[in-house]
């Protein structure tokens, strides 16, 4: 919409010509200037400028819909009104059906906690035929850290859906629908994203997984633009990709230590003894999600995976439609399974904190159980 050409907007000839003469070709060029700038540039009166700008604005503005028609459209056209079930009952109930279409879902947690396992299972679920609860479609898995393990994925498939996978050739077909990309640099990733946008609709791709977003940035960590600008374009692009094609997009993120210049206080909070209550959760954890606050605002759903007292938890930390619940989970041969479908409701900002206690015990017992399991 921003790149709509002025010449195609039905403006009177004289004005349209003046715009072209001044090199204002798209709606973006015109709307980036204030009305006085335009008067100066085009040498026309204020009334003309005002009416022209409002005409251009009306045409460049996207059409509206009532929320009711949005709801009806989704119920009618989309699988489960726009959700991909994760087969974890408690989590699906909390997310009103599953991972939502058209939005960015983030999995963040320390290394080894199970993010890639979750992604492998999701990829598999999406490739299943609809009668088994899948999306019957292709999946694109962007594997930045080379963690994708097909053997493990087939193992998950065989253990979770034995009735499907024991049919001759099914494993090959399911695995054949998952396309794994391994970009070596941020530039290559950018290129791939643009290619994906083009082929999304043609090739029936209904799930995009990026594992992990943070690794792309840390690889490029030399001199150059500051970190938070590097992914700015990608964030908007991935979001628009998700929304226009109405597919779920799952992104994993890493953690990093909190730096000394981080804060969670506003200036009016400092020094007021009446209100200030010590935040108990803060002292336990020195970990925060990577990629900064702009990314934190940009994701729609944030699922935090962490470990406390030797148990793993998956927490719905940010979601516009879920209460703040934490579910205890375990990694098994069939992927991830919840130990209890009734989540624990967490109050306050502690749902956002990332704990890392007792983790080495988990890793040790996992290794004992699965031999050379890498996650």
């Amino acid at each position: 919409m921003a790149n709509k050409l002025i010449s195609e907007m039905g403006l009177p000839k004289s004005i349209a010509n003046v715009f072209v003469a001044r090199n204002l070709l798209t709606a973006k060029d015109v709307l980036s200037l204030t009305e006085f700038d335009l008067m100066e540039l085009l040498d026309v009166g204020l009334a003309t400028v005002t009416s022209t700008v409002s005409h251009i604005s009306e045409i460049s503005c996207p059409p509206y819909q009532t929320v009711l028609s949005l709801l009806e459209q989704r119920i009618q056209n989309e699988y489960l009104a726009g959700h991909l079930p994760t087969r974890l009952k408690g989590l699906d109930a909390a997310l009103c059906g599953g991972i939502p279409f058209g939005a960015l879902t983030e999995l963040v947690g320390p290394s080894g906690i199970g993010k890639t396992q979750f992604c492998l299972k999701l990829a598999l679920l999406a490739s299943l035929p609809t009668i088994y609860g899948g999306l019957d479609s292709r999946v694109i898995y962007i594997d930045v850290e080379s963690k994708f393990n097909s053997r493990r994925m087939i193992e998950i498939g065989v253990n979770s859906f034995p009735e499907i996978f024991h049919i001759e050739g099914m494993a090959q077909e399911m695995a054949g629908r998952i396309l794994v990309l391994r970009p070596a640099s941020l530039a290559e990733f950018t290129e791939r994203l643009q290619q994906i946008k083009v082929s999304l609709l043609q090739r029936q791709i209904k799930l995009l997984i990026i594992d992990s977003m943070a690794a792309l940035v840390s690889r490029e960590h030399e001199e150059g633009p500051p970190r938070h600008h590097q992914l700015g374009w990608h964030i908007s692009f991935i979001k628009s990709l998700a929304e226009f094609s109405r597919i779920p997009v799952v992104v994993t993120n890493q953690v990093r230590s909190q730096s000394s210049d981080e804060t969670s206080r506003y200036s009016f909070q400092v020094g007021s003894k009446v209100e200030y209550i010590e935040d108990p959760a803060r002292s336990d954890s020195h970990l925060v999600a990577a990629l900064g606050i702009h990314w934190a605002h940009a994701v729609t759903i944030r699922l935090v995976l962490d470990s406390k007292l030797g148990k793993r938890f998956i927490k719905v930390a940010k979601s516009p439609m879920s209460p703040p619940l934490a579910f205890c989970f375990d990694i098994t041969s069939s992927g991830i399974s919840l130990l209890n479908d009734n989540g624990i409701e967490m109050t306050g900002p502690q749902i956002n904190t990332i704990n890392y206690q007792g983790h080495s015990d988990i890793i040790r017992s996992a290794i004992k159980g699965y031999g050379d399991q890498s996650e």
Binding site: T34, E58, T263, S264, Q269, E275, D279
Partner: protein
């Protein structure tokens, strides 16, 4: 030179100056045909220039015979108007209290906070609450929801609408006298969704376009009583190398939104994100978009965590005291915090 300040095009101005007309008084006694002959322009153009000049001199107050400056309103008239000001309830009594009854119509209110604090929840709650019928104490209006981040979830809007209907039925059950009038008016939750106009904005150009288009849209849909922009920051936070341009665009937007709020007597609610700022020797959280934007809104509310509870703080308002109050986000939407003790703390 007064002629420079006229709202006419550069070439017309140039001709006036080269013909020797530098002040407005020199134009006041001229007829359009004389001016047209002098500047070698058409009669219509000359008429336009003279109109602009007389408008300019009126604003300067050199008209003399006018007792009141054109376009001004006396403070008394404004006070009478303010008593008729309506508010949109937030469904949380404590929050409504510190806001003086709710979000004010006729004003632009900015609400900001960290991710996950409940900004979108509050936005959706307001979009539903504005539709409460007049008989039940609401405004009976419609809502425009401008979504720049894609955080609007239709399922959540349905949940909140259903809870609102429930609350209205309960309220009705307790207050029997207006029972019949209200009962007829209580809508189904799906009707609530039908009255929210949803726009999905994907770039800053579209954001500017929709704000320009609002005036026309609202004159065609006169019962819109709240415009919610969620969030005003997203598209201005990245890709902007030219900060001066960003500031110009933002202030242009702020002025247009204020004009819309005043012209149509509706509430404009802008949701903002946070960033860190270094001041007084340490880092603090502050709302995004910079210092110049912080002057743009009439009211500013900051949502923050205090221990385990969510609080709202009135950071800036011409008429409300700085105060904070707790609120909570429940399955039904924004509600009061469960405990009964008096919690509003004055700063």
């Amino acid at each position: 030179m007064e002629v420079c300040r006229l709202a006419i095009s550069a070439s017309q101005r140039g001709k006036l100056i080269s013909a020797g007309y530098t002040s407005l008084s020199s134009l006041s006694s001229l007829s359009p045909s004389d001016l047209a002959r002098e500047l070698k322009i058409s009669d219509n153009e000359a008429l336009e220039i003279l109109k602009a000049a007389s408008h300019g001199s009126r604003l300067d107050g050199t008209g003399g015979s006018h007792a009141v400056v054109n376009g001004a309103q006396t403070a008394w008239d404004m006070l009478c108007e303010e008593d008729l000001l309506t508010h949109i309830t937030t469904s949380c009594a404590d929050l409504d209290n510190i806001l003086g009854g709710g979000i004010n119509c006729n004003e632009v209110t900015e609400i900001g906070g960290v991710p996950g604090i409940g900004k979108t929840q509050l936005g959706i709650q307001l979009a539903v609450n504005v539709q409460i019928p007049v008989e039940c104490g609401g405004l009976g209006g419609k809502a425009i929801y401008i979504d720049t981040e894609g955080s609007f979830m239709v399922e959540r809007a349905l949940q909140i609408a259903e809870a609102c209907v429930q609350d209205m039925l309960e309220y009705n059950g307790l207050h029997r006298k207006e029972f019949q009038a209200c009962q007829d008016k209580i809508m189904q939750s799906k009707d609530f969704l039908g009255n929210i106009f949803y726009f999905r904005i994907c770039s800053y150009t579209e954001q500017i376009a929709i704000i320009n288009y609002l005036e026309k849209f609202i004159s065609e849909h006169k019962d819109v009583k709240v415009v919610i922009i969620d969030s005003i920051t997203f598209h201005f936070r990245q890709d902007f190398d030219d900060m001066a341009l960003r500031t110009r665009l933002l202030s242009g937007m702020a002025l247009k939104l204020m004009k819309v709020a005043k012209t149509f007597s509706l509430a404009v609610v802008l949701l903002n994100q946070v960033t860190t700022k270094y001041s007084e020797g340490s880092f603090h959280l502050t709302l995004a978009l910079g210092d110049s934007w912080s002057h743009a809104c009439t009211n500013r509310v900051i949502l923050y965590w205090n221990g385990n509870e969510r609080y709202a703080y009135i950071d800036k308002s011409p008429s409300l005291r700085s105060a904070s109050s707790p609120y909570s986000v429940t399955a039904k939407g924004i509600r009061n915090l469960a405990s009964n003790s008096k919690r509003i703390k004055m700063m």
